[in-house]
């Protein structure tokens, strides 16, 4: 029985990973190599031209922009989720439950419905086309606040109470008791925020129009669709889009493999009632 399970599973994994494999292989091939059938399992003639055309202009700026956006989003998102989650786990507020559900309402709102008003608000704040505009709207994460609250509720209240009895103020409790045990949840929140900002194509594509102010995901995808100027003559659109996909996917896989333990803990935390 278990052998059959394993065979089916391996078959599923192969199916899942085949597209990724062909994307990577294809990114090193010319157009003939990509469309030859049966498909090449290894590139016959390796070429780096897909990458060199893709990265010809602005790539370094895109990388820097991506780093700025990612670091800022991760920092703000962790801060917002952790403070809210902690506040709701230790303190009592008037109408606490209602307030909490309202705060999480974004879970039920299709993000695309918010893009139009976000666009207008960004314009009103005079932030059109800036990196800040890609960051601010996506900072609030209902999932993050939910995970943070779950985590902090698992810290025994008695420890906090006895510290309070000993005369510690709220700030000291936070610094001496809570922050030292928060590394796992901070890692979970940070990883989720990092992955979601690195995948966030649509909003960034809508906001960032200036080629010098783009992030990798916007710049690479746009460049791979670029059919103008001298690029048009030597273009291998499929190879370039494979190269873009490969360049975007591998940092995400690396991030996931590094934080794999925290990631899975975080997803598992999502079901804890």
């Amino acid at each position: 029985m278990k052998v059959i399970n394993k065979i089916i599973l391996i078959f599923i994994f192969v199916l899942l990973l085949i597209p990724i494999y062909f994307m990577v292989i294809g990114s090193f091939q010319d157009i003939q190599g990509i469309f030859v059938m049966p498909p090449n399992l290894f590139p016959k003639r390796v070429t780096l031209s897909n990458y060199s055309i893709l990265l010809k202009e602005n790539a370094f700026i895109w990388l820097i922009n991506t780093l700025i956006v990612t670091v800022a989003t991760v920092f703000l998102s962790v801060l917002v989720s952790a403070t809210a989650g902690y506040a709701f786990s230790v303190y009592n507020y008037k109408h606490k439950n209602i307030l909490w559900s309202i705060l999480l309402i974004q879970m039920m709102i299709p993000k695309i419905s918010l893009f139009i008003p976000w666009f207008v608000i960004i314009k009103d704040l005079k932030l059109s086309g800036t990196l800040t505009a890609t960051i601010l709207p996506v900072v609030l994460s209902p999932m993050g606040m939910y995970l943070a609250r779950n985590y902090f509720e698992s810290i025994p209240k008695s420890i906090i109470e006895s510290a309070r009895m000993d005369g510690a103020n709220e700030w000291q409790i936070l610094r001496m008791i809570i922050i030292p045990v928060s590394k796992p949840i901070v890692s979970v929140l940070g990883l989720f925020a990092g992955v979601s900002i690195l995948q966030d194509y649509v909003w960034q594509m809508l906001v960032l129009s200036d080629a010098k102010k783009q992030t990798l995901i916007v710049g690479l995808i746009r460049q791979s669709m670029n059919r103008t100027g001298d690029i048009a003559l030597l273009v291998n659109p499929v190879g370039m889009s494979f190269a873009a996909g490969t360049l975007l996917l591998f940092p995400l896989i690396a991030l996931f493999l590094i934080g794999n333990k925290y990631f899975i803990e975080g997803l598992q935390g999502a079901v804890k009632e």
Partner: protein, 276 residues
Amino acid sequence: MKYLLLVPALIFFLLFTLWPIIKVIEMSLYQTNFIVTKFIGLQNYIDLMHNEPFLQSLKNSVMYLTVMPLLTVIVSVSVTFLIADLSKKWQDTSRILVYIPVLGGGIILAQVWRWVFAVNGLMNWILSLFNIAPVHWFGESTLSIIIICCIVVTTTFGGYVIILLASLTSIDKSIYDAVKMDGASDFQIKMKIVLPMIKSTVALIYLLSMIASLQVFEYIYALVPQQYAATIAYNIYISGFKNSKWGMASAQAVLLMIITFILSYFQRKISNESNQ
């Protein structure tokens, strides 16, 4: 301190959740291209009732809504059951492997799916091995939507498998042994005993996938930028960001919010009732 800690979340909530909701409702009552703005009351909504692309996207959304959540639940539950009986080492590796496509979800893996379903692409070559003529995969509505649903499922079910595996570990193993003694087959145990016990997680996955199915965007944008495959989400993008009919786009955004709310409300109600 008590209130200070709420400040960061509240600022972002007010500025980028609550205010946008109010704003989009307001905008839906205007005709605007950001240069000329005119209050027209409910006219945008009335116009939408006769708007061909919108009605088509509504029809498509029903199709996405029927296929995607069901497929997601079937695939993620089956794969979870396949993994659940295996050793810890297999489970750990499987969790990583199912999650990798999730990382490339959206625009990233769309780059390669375009090649897989191209007229001279991988799928048609596989068909040719069986002497089947090439298919124009994204040539019409139904087939495009089904393919997009399948692609979305491959890039989302991994996360759900991890969640389901976690909820399985909370089940008391002694129940299995008791039922096994009574001679129940493995399949029977899973369908009759295990599945009901993780019902609330399955319901949650169904709900999340329902919401996601109304929001499919990147694959339509990258693979089939056609009206016949469009969701409401894609239509909002076209009306607003492409055609600058912002009032019209806002009205669709409001309707999409309402539809999502109603669906999640009923889905929750049904799953709560069946839990009692």
